[in-house]
Amino acid sequence: MDDYMSLLLLSKGLLFEIALVIFIFGVLLRLFEIFSLGRKKDLSEPKANPTIIGIKTIFTRSIPSYEMMTKRGFLIVNGIIFHVGLFIVVFLLAPHITVIDRLIDLSWSPLSSQIINFATVVTIFSMIVILVHRFTHPVMKALTTSGDYVAWIVTFLPIISGYMAYNHLLLPYNLILALHILSVDLLLIVLPFSKLSHSFTFFMARYYSGTISGRKGVQL
């Protein structure tokens, strides 16, 4: 059998299956690990409804403050571009929607490939920018651990390989598609156990944070 084709079949077959199993398993495990630690019921008289403000904070925290825009606007804008770009690329590309449809029987209308292609370029660019920023910004440099690089790499690989696959660059399509799917497999496996876990815990973090200040009638 053709090596590339068998790699493609392996990547979207057995390996994807394994990756998905680890992903689901990992996410659930992490959620259990977090929720199992519990939270004491707050007995103090709330000034406002903490739950409502908690839920609101999940969304409002996406809006940067003026102060932070003046201080770290570059990082914030780049971060927003990256996350929006990533969202577009991951969830609005037709083949991806097909995969999701196949997995959970849910689909929506995709964006045009030219837009996706553009978004991909922008996302790749923003990722390179963030990496350079990580090397140069003193605070980020000090905070950065190997885990941050792992997170960056496993995010970058699917994007760059996906871009190459779409544009038929350098490698035969089967091979690059296989590599793309392999990198996604890797991402799925690494995600729950790495810094990328923020993709599902940030809802909780924002919610908790929102309830803590919300109880005091403050929406930050």
Binding site: T98, R102, S112, Y173
Partner: protein, 364 residues
């Protein structure tokens, strides 16, 4: 009756085809073959001076679809001309002779054209159990191929079976079918995959061999001129793909409006072939144009590369696997919960109330 050693020019004259229409044909042929301008200019002259070429066509495990495709033309065309021009000295289906007479004709042709004939092979070669699954005149395909290839100038593996093993090789491959290039290692081999391959490609490749020799091939020994880009690249439905307009059902409005068939399993993006350019039946249509996605027939192992109606990137995962993962996750999650709770309870048990007397460590 055709004269031996006649050139193509003689043949044209014999048939009364004008030089003008021949030149027009050459322009088209040159572009099909992807020739450089210099070579394109040389093409008419080279073609006109080619001698009649001896060709031996071996059919092994196949369906005769390839032969059908190339002989399908219902009227005489210039493409056919090339094919008619060659000296097809052996072809089961087409030749008038049969039995030992046919075998003898082949033997004679080989003897006469040692090292000069072109061997066309369609069909795969079974090698399991000594190759007993396909024989001609009591001889296995494997033996025939090995013997007849020995003195060939070049081998053309016509169709996906000869080129890649094709349908016979599909899992579980009961006959142990293999492609030609897995057996013959010491001869130039040109793969013209497709199920069947496009007739124009066959004649184009033959014309190239006759004039400029073996064309540039890719890693799968396919002529780059015809297999260099994907069906997707040249597909007239590509704009719909780019705009994200997809048919999701063969009879939905989108399908009727001619939208992209990616979601219906079209393998165009991974299939390298010239269908979208050359088309079929004298340029009438090709599968996608007739409303069906490309099944990727000219790619290796296309039978085993997922369902024809599954989009390419679609993973093959069963719902059971997902639910199994969920169950495992919950299971381990519960275990982790228990561990965490125990740990926390232990820390609570271990902690003594902090009083103001306990705020300092003992002086060392």
């Amino acid at each position: 009756m055709q004269k031996l050693n006649a050139t193509l020019m003689d043949e044209l004259n014999r048939r009364g085809i004008s030089r003008r229409s021949f030149l027009q044909y050459c322009v088209v042929l040159a572009s099909t073959m992807g020739l450089s301008p210099v070579m394109a200019n040389q093409l008419p002259e080279k073609l006109l001076n080619t001698k009649r070429q001896s060709v031996i066509w071996l059919s092994f495990q196949e369906c005769t679809g390839c032969a059908e495709a190339i002989t399908r033309a219902d009227k005489l065309t210039l493409e056919n001309l090339i094919f008619n021009f060659i000296s097809l000295d052996y072809q089961h289906t087409l030749m008038a002779a049969s039995g030992s007479a046919a075998e003898e004709a082949k033997h004679n042709a080989i003897e006469k054209n040692k090292g000069k004939y072109i061997l066309i092979v369609d069909g795969s070669i079974p090698i399991k159990d000594g190759g007993v699954y396909s024989t001609v005149a009591g001889e296995t395909n494997l033996d025939i191929l090995k013997r007849d290839a020995k003195d060939a100038m070049a081998i053309v593996s016509l169709g996906s079976c000869a080129a890649f093993g094709g349908l016979p090789q599909a899992q579980p491959n009961p006959t142990g079918a293999v492609s030609v290039d897995e057996i013959i290692k010491d001869k130039p081999i040109i793969n013209i995959p497709g199920c069947p391959p496009i007739p124009n490609i066959i004649t184009g490749v033959l014309a190239h061999v006759l004039t400029f020799g073996i064309p540039t091939l890719d890693q799968y020994k396919r002529p780059v001129a015809f297999y260099g880009s994907s069906v997707h690249d040249n597909c007239y439905r590509r704009p719909f793909y780019d705009k994200g307009m997809f048919a999701t059902n063969f009879d939905d409005e989108a399908a009727r409006s001619g939208w992209c068939l990616y979601k219906l399993g079209c393998k165009g993006p991974m299939t390298h072939n010239a269908c979208a350019v050359e088309k079929w039946n004298g340029g009438v249509s090709f599968p996608i144009q007739s409303g069906h996605g490309c099944i990727g027939c000219s790619e290796k192992d296309f039978w085993d590369s997922g369902g024809f109606y599954e989009s390419m990137a679609s993973p093959v995962v069963s719902a059971e696997t997902i639910s199994m993962a969920a169950v495992a996750g919950v299971g381990v999650g519960v275990a982790a919960t228990a561990l965490n709770k125990i740990k926390k309870a232990k820390s609570l048990k271990n902690s003594e109330p902090v009083t103001i007397k306990d705020l300092k460590q003992e002086e060392a």
